[in-house]
């Protein structure tokens, strides 16, 4: 029994981190129809920012989080201007951006590798390897803090998108760019802003990741497929779906890891993805496709 609770806790703890990593991806897809394969690589960029701040000046990763978010948001603006703006009007936008973001991921990886080498890094604030023990059961504090912070950020964001005027403009632009323009929305600005927010989330996630996992520039390939499974499972573009999917899958993976074998725990994500495609292609919270 104790072990079951312990495994559950570990699964949930990991889920919190993945939730934030996945939700930025989900957001950018949801509002902009961009499948941002570069997202994980930008998370790593955020992690590096946090790492150096910690190493050079001893700044706590959680304090660094907003700064990393802002830095990455700025990079997002730059990226958008350089890479995505031209394509924004194309009918093949969604498909094109998959490839563009893929290429971006390689650029980010190459640039990070050039600057910081491929050595794996991790920040070590004291709470990163600490745990709260309740009897024999423990809650890892690093992941606990990360989970709480990530849920806070996600909720704030979801509310902003749903209820603010700007949030509405973002969604409107995604759905019908021309119409939004005809109603007076400066669509280009909207696109830049929402991209910046999405990438900013990657920066924030990077800060959390920096003390939960170790990272190096090429690490993002490991995450891409996992994060994507979360997003698809949750239903493309649904942030709530992504969050729930992360918790669900991480818990399942934890149990698989504990009771079936560590090798199979990573498999959980991909198998779940296939099962969901088999029985419910639109994911948990996605919209049903037109043709059944």
């Amino acid at each position: 029994m104790e072990q079951i609770i312990q495994t559950l806790i570990l699964g949930l703890a990991l889920g919190g981190v993945f939730a934030l990593m996945g939700s930025g991806l989900s957001l950018v897809f949801g509002v902009m129809r961009i499948v941002n394969l570069a997202h994980p690589s930008l998370i790593i960029a955020g992690a590096y920012a946090t790492y150096w701040a910690f190493k050079l000046w001893g700044i706590d990763p959680l304090v660094m989080l907003p700064v990393a978010a802002i830095i990455l948001a700025a990079i997002g603006v730059l990226l958008y201007k350089l890479v995505f703006e031209r394509e924004a009007r194309s009918a093949k936008y969604s498909e094109m951006t998959v490839l563009l973001t893929f290429a971006t991921a390689m650029i980010v990886e190459g640039a990070l590798g050039g600057m910081f080498t491929n050595t794996q890094r991790v920040t070590s604030p004291s709470y990163a390897t600490d745990a709260i023990f309740i009897g024999n059961i423990f809650i890892p504090t690093g992941q606990l803090y990360a989970g709480i912070v990530s849920l806070l950020i996600i909720s704030a964001l979801a509310l902003f998108l749903k209820y603010s005027r700007f949030g509405n403009a973002i969604r409107a632009t995604t759905q019908n760019r021309e119409a939004a323009e005809l109603l007076g929305v400066n669509v280009n600005l909207v696109c830049i802003m929402s991209f910046a927010i999405g990438i900013g989330l990657a920066g924030a996630a990077g800060s959390l990741v920096s003390f939960v996992f170790s990272f190096f520039p090429a690490k993002h390939w490991e995450w891409v497929a996992v994060l994507m499974s979360l997003v698809v499972l949750g239903g493309m573009g649904s942030i709530l779906g992504t969050v729930i999917a992360s918790f669900m899958l991480c818990v399942v993976a934890a149990f698989v890891g504990a009771y079936v074998g560590a090798t199979w725990s990573t498999m959980t994500f991909f198998l779940a993805l296939f099962l969901i495609l088999l029985i419910r292609p639109q994911g948990l919270f996605g919209e049903k496709p037109e043709l059944a």
Binding site: G110, F274, P281
Partner: protein, 351 residues
């Protein structure tokens, strides 16, 4: 107020606009009629078939290796093109077929000593069957979800192969090398790949100009419309998936023996599928010559980089940059974009 009749309906005005319109249409029509240069790929093929004669005067293994390597990727990229280019389903998981083909033929070689070149067609059939089954599931999704499902496919295959003790798990299997002398050792694979590449180009051509191909193109544009136009979209796309998987599988079969070593990590890394995609995009998705040109360019580019820059992270950076630049400036690939602007040299028009 007087009725302002600004211009009467004399024929002139009307016909001049009509004229412009017609000229425009004729230009479009001309594009599709322009005699394509079939002779060029055939000449190229003949040249390549004769190339190994060089071995008589010296050791040109490296040249053969490059051609062979390119031909391998031409096969794979053309295969990918049938699904990704014609049908519009971007798969980042086609290296799964590469692996299945490689392992199937490789294990038969290791256990029974039958050359993979003979087994390649069977590897193709196996991959087609697997592709059919997988396609039934993953092709239910569309667009981004499909892309991601294809990524997941690679991960699953990777984990399965990594733990399949019979095929050596993550450590892989070393295959016996043939016992030809250094100069001639590459020849069987060389010819196998060149023929395979020619076959896949020919097959894509055939498909593109068939009812099946038209149906695939319709699917890539609007599946609901295609379905209600009487096209059995599900079967069509699964079939396209199977065919493209078969081509990639055949390439994988021979590749394993050529490397004398099979291991999940050779086949199931993202770079392999990215290369396929990148080649098609660079050359021109949905065109016949596109994957060929893409393959040549990417491999030449890689060689150039390794030779000049030596190596570093700049490799990755440069590949990424190249990809971005191509996508931004040649969104339809080199062949596609040139054709759109009516600047495609005749020798590259194989469609």
């Amino acid at each position: 107020m007087m009725s302002v009749v600004s211009e009467t309906l004399t024929g002139d005005a009307a016909s001049s606009v009509l004229e412009a319109r017609r000229a425009h249409n004729e230009k479009l029509a001309a594009k599709s009629d322009k005699a394509r240069a079939i002779w060029f790929p055939i000449a190229l093929l003949l040249l390549l078939l004769a190339l190994p004669a060089l071995q008589v005067i010296g050791n040109f293994n490296y040249v053969l290796h490059l051609v062979l390597f390119t031909a391998c990727y031409v096969t794979m990229a053309s295969g990918w093109n049938i699904l990704g280019g014609f049908t519009g389903y971007i798969s980042l998981g086609h290296n799964v077929f590469f692996a299945i083909g490689g392992y199937f033929a490789g294990m038969i070689l290791a256990r029974y000593g039958i050359s993979t070149i003979l087994m390649a067609p069977f590897a193709g059939l196996l991959c087609a069957a697997v592709g059919y089954l997988i396609g039934r599931v993953t092709l239910k999704t569309r667009g981004p979800s499909f892309i991601i499902s294809s990524l997941a496919l690679v991960m699953i295959a990777r984990i399965l192969f990594d733990h399949w003790k019979f095929v050596g798990g993550a450590n892989g299997v070393a295959l016996p090398a043939n016992d030809l002398s250094v100069e001639w050792a590459k020849l069987p694979y060389y010819y196998a790949f060149v023929v395979l590449a020619a076959f896949s180009v020919w097959l894509s051509y055939k498909i593109k100009h068939s009812k099946f191909g038209l149906g695939l193109r319709a699917i890539s544009k609007d599946e609901i419309k295609a379905e209600s136009a009487g096209i059995d979209t599900r079967t069509y796309k699964v079939l396209a998936f199977a065919i493209s998987g078969a081509l990639v599988g055949m390439a994988g079969a021979i590749w394993g023996e050529y490397l004398t070593y099979i291991r999940p990590n050779i086949f199931l890394i993202i770079l392999v599928s990215v290369n396929m995609v990148l080649m098609c995009i660079l050359g021109g998705k949905g065109t016949i010559a596109g994957p060929v040109i893409g393959a040549i360019m990417i491999i030449a580019f890689n060689e150039l980089f390794v030779a000049t820059l030596g190596a570093s992270e700049i490799n990755i950076l440069a590949t990424g940059l190249l990809m971005v630049i191509v996508l931004l400036f040649f969104p339809q690939g080199i062949v596609g974009t040139l054709a759109k602007h009516h600047k495609l040299p005749r020798i590259l028009n194989w469609d």
